[in-house]
């Protein structure tokens, strides 16, 4: 196993000297996992995440990860990492698109079992006819699983968010899974400059005996929980227990807010927030929005940008305050349904100001001109 020194997360994230590498998003995943002191990774290939977990396999071969194997399918992978996490080790996996959908049952299961799994989702289309192209629609299906959801704009975000996700997820009072989402192909398969910490340092190990649930040995007392379904009875007492359990999971996500602020600098990032017209976006739609806002500025039109980094917990209070005086909030998205604009409409005053688009899907790119057209229209109104 390569020599790596354990350092405090704060040192890893802010103080350690960083080297700039010109790498793909998939390679950024590898570099994050290399420094994350991961015990176990399980993979199953699906485009566009295949290369990421292939590269994670490479660093297992180099000795950076204790155990690694290929599962039978995505459901099996997500079940396997659940078992590993219940056993008290730090685990990582990744999937995307139809793989996400195939494994869907396991995500609320992870949350309910309070498992601090970090999973990267590289999003793509999920519909028939089959497409492997970029699309963020799978995220709509995960919004109410209970997991924390972070959305990376680029490879740098992806690297940083994966490392920080372990620290956020493993806080005793949080201790629920974190999904780190990046737009497939646009981030995973393109090269970008990524500043990484030295490879000879790593995060502190996971502390399973500070978990809010016991480390589980399925065969021995005191915790044969899964063989004794705990509240699967038809009576009020059982319903009340299950309700309290679900509330506690919601509470755990609430408790993540200060840690997301501490490690990611906030649930959102804002530029030019005083502008009458704001653009709210997540993932690579942020990059396209930056371009559009720069083009608008050349025409003498001011627009602001809200980059959403955390979808769960959702920055409702922040967005209510930021958008209070805006004339319009434009929400460009890489999906058909416009789930982010729906989320925003639910929290802002006067939701008619939310412009649900432009939207592209099925693998289409989003020319900044589309966003610029909307900025022009609402700036002139």
């Amino acid at each position: 196993m390569p020599e790596q020194k354990v350092v405090a997360p704060e040192f890893m994230f802010t103080e350690a000297a960083r080297e700039e590498q010109f790498i793909t998003g998939s390679e950024a995943v590898r570099e994050a996992v290399r420094r994350a002191n991961v015990d176990m990774a399980v993979s199953y290939p699906i485009t566009p995440q295949s290369e990421s977990m292939h590269l994670v396999g490479d660093i297992w071969a180099e000795g950076y990860i204790k155990d690694y194997y290929r599962g039978e399918n995505e459901f099996a992978v997500m079940s396997a990492v659940a078992g590993a996490a219940m056993g008290g080790v730090r685990v990582f996996t990744a999937t995307g698109g139809p793989g996400t959908m195939r494994a869907l049952e396991m995500f609320p299961t992870w949350v309910g079992a309070r498992l601090p799994i970090v999973c990267a989702f590289f999003t793509r289309g999920i519909n028939s006819p089959l497409t492997i192209q970029p699309d963020t629609i799978e995220m709509a299906h995960l919004l109410d699983t209970g997991m924390i959801m972070l959305h990376a704009e680029d490879a740098q975000d992806l690297y940083d968010m994966i490392l920080k996700a372990f620290i956020i997820a493993e806080q005793t009072e949080v201790h629920i899974p974190v999904g780190v989402f990046a737009d497939g192909f646009f981030v995973t398969h393109t090269r970008d400059k990524v500043r990484v910490a030295p490879a000879d340092i790593k995060l502190p190990p996971y502390k399973p005996y500070s978990a809010p649930v016991p480390v589980m040995d399925m065969e021995n007392v005191p915790f044969r929980q899964m063989r004794d379904p705990f509240v699967m009875k038809s009576n009020y007492v059982s319903y009340a227990a299950h309700a309290s359990w679900q509330q506690e999971v919601l509470a755990a996500a609430e408790r993540a807010r200060p840690f997301i602020r501490q490690y990611l600098g906030g649930l959102i990032e804002v530029e030019n927030e005083q502008a009458d017209v704001l653009v709210l976006a997540g993932g690579t739609a942020v990059c396209q929005s930056r371009e559009a806002i720069a083009m608008a500025r050349e025409e003498g039109i001011e627009a602001g940008l809200i980059k959403i980094k955390s979808l769960r917990p959702f920055p409702g209070e922040e967005l209510r305050a930021l958008t209070a005086k805006a004339k319009a909030v434009i929400v460009p998205e890489f999906n058909r349904v416009g789930w982010l604009s729906r989320e925003l409409r639910n929290v802002v005053q006067n939701p008619d100001r939310v412009v649900a688009g432009p939207r592209v899907f099925g693998g289409m790119t989003m020319p900044p001109d589309l966003i610029l057209s909307e900025i022009r229209r609402y700036a002139r109104e």
């Binding site: 809010p212 004794d228 359990w245």
Partner: protein, 190 residues
């Protein structure tokens, strides 16, 4: 600033998680009394008041004190036992979290999935959870607050519990021994 207060129940059919009502966990060195952030010392005094004014105080030590997961557990468990004895409280251990269906014996058992049964049966008016894994403690605390009038105290070795009426955080042997000394002193003066 939230207006929600974590008061003794019965709060109703389905009380909310206090964290979702805006109650935040205390910082290190601080504690919560009914959702208010207070210095730890103030919370220690409030715990002593509650224990000594209770008619039927009970301690519910959980697996983190009953099973020797890590160093120091036995010493901490002994310290908690001394506190319970000094306060004149009874002890019902929570050795695991498996429900015992069709029915537990509420006179001698408690389970985080239906703690109200034990509290109702024993007419417990103040209870202290210690060494209960945080998830299970919160599950139990909401059920207790929803259906009973029992006043809940959490002596937590981790980050604390918004759903308890009083919670300490990072509580170890020093806090437990301080409580024991305070209880003994108050008893001596009475």
């Amino acid at each position: 600033m939230t207006k929600y207060r974590v008061l003794a129940g019965p709060e109703g059919y389905l009380p909310p998680a206090a964290a979702c009502e805006g109650i935040r966990l205390p910082d290190v060195g601080w504690a919560l009394i009914e959702g208010r952030h207070v210095p730890e010392q103030e919370a220690l005094s409030a715990i002593v008041d509650k224990l000594l004014s209770a008619k039927r105080p009970f301690f519910f030590p959980g697996p983190n004190l009953l099973w020797e997961w890590k160093e120091g557990v036995a010493e901490k468990a002994s310290a908690l036992r001394k506190l319970a004895d000094t306060a004149g409280a009874r002890v019902i251990p929570m050795p695991d979290y498996r429900p015992k269906y069709p029915m537990i014996n509420p006179a001698i058992e408690i389970n985080p999935n239906h703690p109200n049964l034990t509290i109702w049966h024993n007419k417990i008016d103040v209870c202290v959870l210690a060494g209960v894994h945080c998830h299970y403690a919160n599950v139990a605390l909401k059920i207790i607050r929803g259906g009973t009038d029992c006043y809940t105290i959490a002596i937590c070795g981790e980050a604390g519990h918004e759903d308890a009426n009083i919670t300490l955080r990072n509580a170890g042997i020093p806090q437990i021994e301080a409580l024991t000394a305070m209880v003994a002193e108050r008893r001596r003066l009475c």
